[in-house]
Amino acid sequence: MKKLGFIVLAVVLALGLVGAAYAAWSQNLYADATVNTGYVAATISSGLVGSGPIVVGDSLNPLTTATYTQTTTSLTSDTLTVTVENAYPGLSFTVPFTVDNTGTVGLTTSFGTPTGGGANGGADLTDSNGILTGTIAAGGTGAGSYVITVGAGIPSNTWESISLPIVCTQAP
């Protein structure tokens, strides 16, 4: 029996040695994931910026003009401003614009709710929902337009403003 006990002890020790050998050969590997997000950035402009006053009435109406300016370029308030002088009730004209996707992801666009329009609201100034369809790829340009209409209720010799938001959202 003593001999049998010795053999069992020897086997246990041997197995222990084998286990230590396997432990020595282990290794850890790592996968580091770094995600840089893209960004949405867009600017609005028009080919008419810098063209000076442009007649928007008819030939009888040379003093009714529109001047296009791009007032600010930033992530929160990039604005295409159209300044119209000598407008009158019933005047309606189309404002062409372009949206440049200066970000790194594709964009879809939609139109928000206009604000402003004068003291008499829709009776002073209105604008149609604009036209700007499709997705604008990163680095690409989209062309759109919207229509400003001067309402019957607008007073003479006054200033009125209306602002149309264009919401640019990361394309899915």
């Binding site: 950035a41 200033w159 403003s161 209306i162």
Partner: protein, 174 residues
Amino acid sequence: MKKVGFIVLAVILALGLVGAAYAAFSQNLFAQANVQTGNVSVEWSSNTTAVTGNNAGVTAGGDSLSAAVVYGATNATDDTATITVSNAYPGAWVEITPALYNAGTIPVTVNIAAVSSYALYTGDLFINGGLPAAVNIAPGATVSMAPFYVEVAPSSQANGTTLYAQFTLNAVSP
């Protein structure tokens, strides 16, 4: 039942997490329109004429029939041209050709919108041939309307009387 409720709650929470994951980047652009309205301002032009005459067959010995145009104040509400005909008589007429200057910044359409005259009502005066059509006037331009005729009725007994007629012209934006 408690287990089912727990599963539903877990699903709702999971869907909420999925929704958060789909939040997209966005940016607003603005198309701003600043509109200044123009103004309507029409004045009488000195090209306005008033020419007198009489119908064929009317005899007016020593005829001193005449007409003169006097322009009143020029303002937005009460700009008046007064045409005075002197020594009129039955069958005499005055041919009035209104000429108007657009001193505003937008085009206007001008027409004779109203006529007020007791003499027209009594028949001492009448408009021979109707009133002129409306005219369009561009800013800075002067346009004459077609002439119209105001005549003393052949049957008028308004001897030594002032006969009065007022024509209201209305200028409107397009």
